[in-house]
Amino acid sequence: MIGYAYVGSLFFLTFVVCTVYSLAREVNVTSLRLARETGRRAAQLLGLLAALAVVVYFLSKI
């Protein structure tokens, strides 16, 4: 149960971080562009975290 909560938290906190980052950095942009930038940053961050998870998984097997 707690493992699923950690995975869910990963998505929720990624959304929080990317939304706040986009809202704070880009003051004079349209809502649509803001949403697109947030999505792009969230995808990048999740991709990076997934890559790190794979590296850590293989390191744990050594």
């Binding site: 938290s9 939304t19 706040v20 704070a24 004079n28 803001l34």
Partner: protein, 177 residues
């Protein structure tokens, strides 16, 4: 030369285009920079609200306080670290965690109360031994870190060089040679 229209999430409102007398941007001009930053720390998004970006400030407030409260109800709390290097519990990571979490401002202080005054002063759930407490503390860490980021951006966009209005950053860019 045609200039691109400046838009915002609050762009539809008349408030975003003009700053009439008595508007929030003018009120911000009367407040000192340290006061705006202090209030931005206590109330996430205050700096944006008072500088004309009301909707954006409310978004910050809702997102950051919601994240904090989710963490608090997962038994996460701001814990007072051991600051004396000679003591056994001294740990740089817990000190850094404390400073990041305390950037939650008002709710961060409320969460710290039982650490200072005992369990009786706990308003939010407080049980650091609970299995969910680590995850909850991580939520507090993220919301605190993001509030720090919002405060820094408040200063960057509106308060630096004494430009206390929403177009301050744009004006500075235009003024550069």
């Amino acid at each position: 030369m045609k200039t691109e229209p400046r838009n915002d999430t609050d762009a539809g409102s008349s408030e975003s285009r003009a700053t009439p007398p008595g508007s929030s941007a003018l009120r911000a001009r009367r407040q000192s920079t340290p006061l705006v930053l202090l209030l931005s720390w206590l109330v996430p998004g205050y700096g944006f609200m008072v500088n004309g970006h009301v909707k954006r400030g409310v978004y910050f407030f809702v997102i950051l306080e919601l994240t904090f409260l989710v963490g608090a109800f997962l038994y996460g709390s701001v814990l007072l670290p051991e600051f004396r290097p000679s003591r056994e519990g001294f740990n740089l990571v817990t000190i850094l965690t404390f400073f990041t979490q305390i950037f939650n401002g008002g709710l961060g202080i409320i969460s710290l109360l039982p650490e200072i005054f005992g369990r009786g002063a706990a308003i939010l759930p407080y049980n650091e031994a609970n299995q969910w407490a680590d995850l909850g503390s991580f939520f507090l860490l993220v919301s605190g870190g993001m509030n720090y980021f919002v405060i820094v951006n408040t200063y960057d966009h509106f308060l630096r060089n004494g430009l206390h209005d929403k177009h301050g950053a744009a004006r500075r860019r235009e003024a550069r040679p």
